[in-house]
């Protein structure tokens, strides 16, 4: 594969700065939503600020891990992707999830059907009593689908960065979509199995 033309490094720095600026804006949104959710929640041992900080750090840690796993997976297929390019873009994609959390927790005057379409069945109070499989996939709504599309875009863009000439868009998007869906399904499976193990045969007839 040929080297990118001169000037590409400068453009990459500029793109990185822009990506991190977006990520900082999203982090601020996450903090505010988590703080409001913690403030309105029933009594907790943590103060709303501390609860929001813990939630934000957890979100950042999971995104960092997701980017690491993405970089390593691409590397195992012989493709080079920079963590610095992927991590902020993935975190920015989580803005849809922040919106879903605010839709559920703050209970605005949105019709229930809209909330379920956007945030998934987790917007229904009954989901707390549902089985582990239903709970693992309870977040599957339009906003999650949008996050998956944005994450696919993040991977596809990161894939094109190091390759010159840039590979065609369609195969890049296909590969990126497969990876994002693979990660999503793996995480849901882990949650399903973990919840199932945690509760054993409880609540079964």
């Amino acid at each position: 594969m040929n080297a990118p033309p001169s000037g590409a490094a400068g453009r990459a720095v500029h793109t990185d700065l822009r990506a991190w600026a977006f990520a900082v804006c999203v982090a601020t949104m996450w903090f505010e939503i988590l703080w409001r959710t913690a403030r309105d929640a029933p009594a907790s041992s943590l103060s709303p600020v501390l609860a929001a900080a813990v939630g934000l750090v957890t979100q950042l840690a999971f995104t960092a891990l997701e980017a690491s796993l993405g970089v390593a997976t691409w590397a195992s297929f012989g493709r080079q992707v920079r963590w610095n390019a992927l991590a902020p873009a993935l975190f920015t994609a989580s803005v849809t999830e922040a919106f879903a959390v605010s839709l559920i927790a703050e209970q605005p005057a949105w019709p229930q059907a809209w909330r379920v379409v956007l945030a998934g069945p987790r917007a229904l109070p009954e989901v707390a009593a549902a089985g582990p499989f239903a709970q693992a996939f309870a977040g599957l709504g339009a906003l999650t689908l949008l996050r998956l599309v944005l994450a696919t875009h993040a991977h596809a863009s990161a894939l094109s960065e190091r390759a010159w000439p840039s590979p065609p868009a369609a195969p890049r998007w296909r590969a990126a979509a497969l990876l994002v869906l693979g990660f999503y399904w793996s995480s849901r499976l882990a949650i399903w199995w973990g919840l199932d193990l945690f509760r054993g045969r409880s609540f079964e007839p």
Binding site: L65, L69, A128, W193, D196, L197, S202
Partner: protein, 167 residues
């Protein structure tokens, strides 16, 4: 080794660890699902009575027994037991509410669940709840018929005979 190589190794280690955790969880889940457990049935001979159940007058119709799996280290499930007692106390024919103390290796000598229990308090000394019934969620409420057959089992925070109504 350069810094880039170290990051590469770290990313690879994270990937291998994630795949390992997923595979281990999957195997553990599969092994758990193929295991056979008994269907719960209330049999007083399998448990140790810590507080006796109240005797019913022979003329009264037999009542259901609601048994809450309680861990003495779990304030949430004890709170559920008290909420259930408060919720059913005003009924004309309340169920016999009982506590089944689980995951307690030694016989509890002094404990206060903060509620009178018509169905008594029982110690699961032989881990029937966990090992024979395969149950793991504290606060789970078993609704047994007067003859000991399981009618339903519901999580904490739910009234067993009206599961759609959260407490």
């Amino acid at each position: 080794m350069t810094t880039r190589d170290r990051w590469k190794d770290l990313n690879l280690a994270a990937l291998l660890l994630a795949v390992g955790v997923l595979a281990t969880t999957g195997i553990a889940w599969w092994r758990d699902r193929v295991q056979r457990f008994e269907s719960p049935r209330w049999d007083t001979e399998r448990f140790v009575a810590l507080r006796p159940a109240e005797r019913e007058a022979p003329a009264k119709p037999p009542r259901e027994r609601w048994v809450v799996a309680v861990s003495l280290a779990c304030p949430h499930c004890q709170e559920h037991l008290r909420a259930l007692a408060a919720r059913t106390a005003s009924r004309e024919h309340p169920p016999a509410l009982a506590a089944l103390i689980v995951d307690q290796p030694a016989r509890p000598l002094a404990f206060d669940l903060g509620v009178p229990l018509l169905g008594g308090a029982w110690w699961d000394s032989t881990q029937v709840w966990r090992e024979s019934w395969g149950r793991r969620a504290y606060g789970e409420t078993f609704r047994f018929s007067a003859s000991g057959e399981l009618l339903s089992s519901t999580p904490a925070g739910v009234v067993p005979d009206s599961a759609s109504i959260p407490m």
